[in-house]
Symmetry: C2
Subunit: 218 residues, 2 copies
């Protein structure tokens, strides 16, 4: 069964939202795929007819197992291309997402197999997100956001939750990347902001909103 680019984008978005918020409101999905609620309803009916989602009018919807498999395959392609763009073409991690958003729809299993081999089977994309293997398996990592990490231990930035352009911009300013080593110096109770010491840099303070989005391994 071959799917349109639009269908694939919906499936990936449902997977993402399903993971984040347990129940997926159609309005949120509409925002995610940059469309209107009415269009979402149309697509939901189509995806239901293709057995990609469980769906009853006015009720919540979720991906079927088949749907999850498809989503993981698209995510795999997306992240492999992002890895390629950063580690082979030398692009920046904040400019590869929109390109991968298009490349992920090129459907050719041999291509992806060859790409995966060429990149030597990477496990994480440039934003620290895990790359599902060909069977859709994801290796999980023990990580916690900066706020919930222990004080004065060396932490390694492993992934970024909010990957918006504004966030990428802020991280560039702080000189924070995947792999950056830092220590949590202290937390301020007033606003939840935290002081951090990035290796080779002077200590700085980052807001609670930012700290919650930066995940680290110990």
């Amino acid at each position: 069964m071959k799917l349109s680019t639009s269908e694939e984008n919906y499936i990936k978005a449902i997977f993402k939202l399903q993971d984040l918020h347990n129940t997926v409101p159609a309005t949120l999905l509409a925002a995610e795929v940059k469309t209107k609620a009415a269009s979402v309803t149309d697509m939901l009916k189509k995806l239901y007819s293709k057995k990609i989602i469980h769906y009853k009018p006015y009720k919540n919807f979720t991906l079927t197992n088949a749907g999850k498999k498809i989503a993981l395959d698209i995510i795999r392609k997306h992240r492999l291309w992002e890895y390629f763009l950063v580690h082979k073409l030398g692009m920046n991690w904040d400019e590869v997402h929109p390109i991968a958003e298009e490349m992920e729809h090129v459907n050719n299993p041999l291509l992806i197999q060859k790409l995966d081999e060429y990149l030597e089977h990477p496990c994480f994309d440039p934003h620290g997100d895990p790359i599902p293997d060909k069977n859709g398996n994801i290796r999980m990592v023990e990580q916690s956001d900066i706020c919930s990490s222990p004080i004065k231990k060396t932490l390694t930035v492993s992934s970024i939750k909010d990957q918006s352009i504004t966030m990428m911009d802020l991280l560039k300013h702080y000189q924070i990347k995947i792999g950056t080593k830092l220590k949590l110096v202290r937390k301020f109770d007033f606003d939840g902001s935290v002081e951090i010491k990035i290796e080779k840099l002077a200590p700085t303070i980052i807001s609670n909103q930012v700290a919650k989005n930066i995940f680290c391994t110990q």
Copy 2:
């Protein structure tokens, strides 16, 4: 001005046919883009309104200079991706075309610039076709098909005109690739077939139809 995948495919097809046959019949274009003559007319009107082709009903049509520029840019992307697929991912030259047919529509100038640098500015794709540079310039090569080449001189296969799957299949059987060294032993007047001697192989005979499609440099 951003163009749809369909528009881009038409533009590329017109460029190709315009190069091959000087005048482009709509029916040929229909076959090339795998559609019907009526659909071609619709698209021609749209491309005319966007000043991509010169067009008067029932008259011949040709690409404007702007149209040629667009075509060359799509061809550049197509061939760079083919080069990548063969020389980096290790795919075969007979399986890359349909993939490049999709990748050529990913529109991001920085991506193509980086890809070109990564591949070290290749001049020819895996089928021996020239890759236009970023300004649309093509370096021409002195080459002639086997039939029109001199006898008993060492020739190097430089490009293949007909790149259909059936032709690729036949070339694989003959063990002919881009770069293959061969000699034209003799020509047979009866059917125009020719005897060739490929380096390290026993002499064989190839039909006129095949020989006309294999271009070589001396």
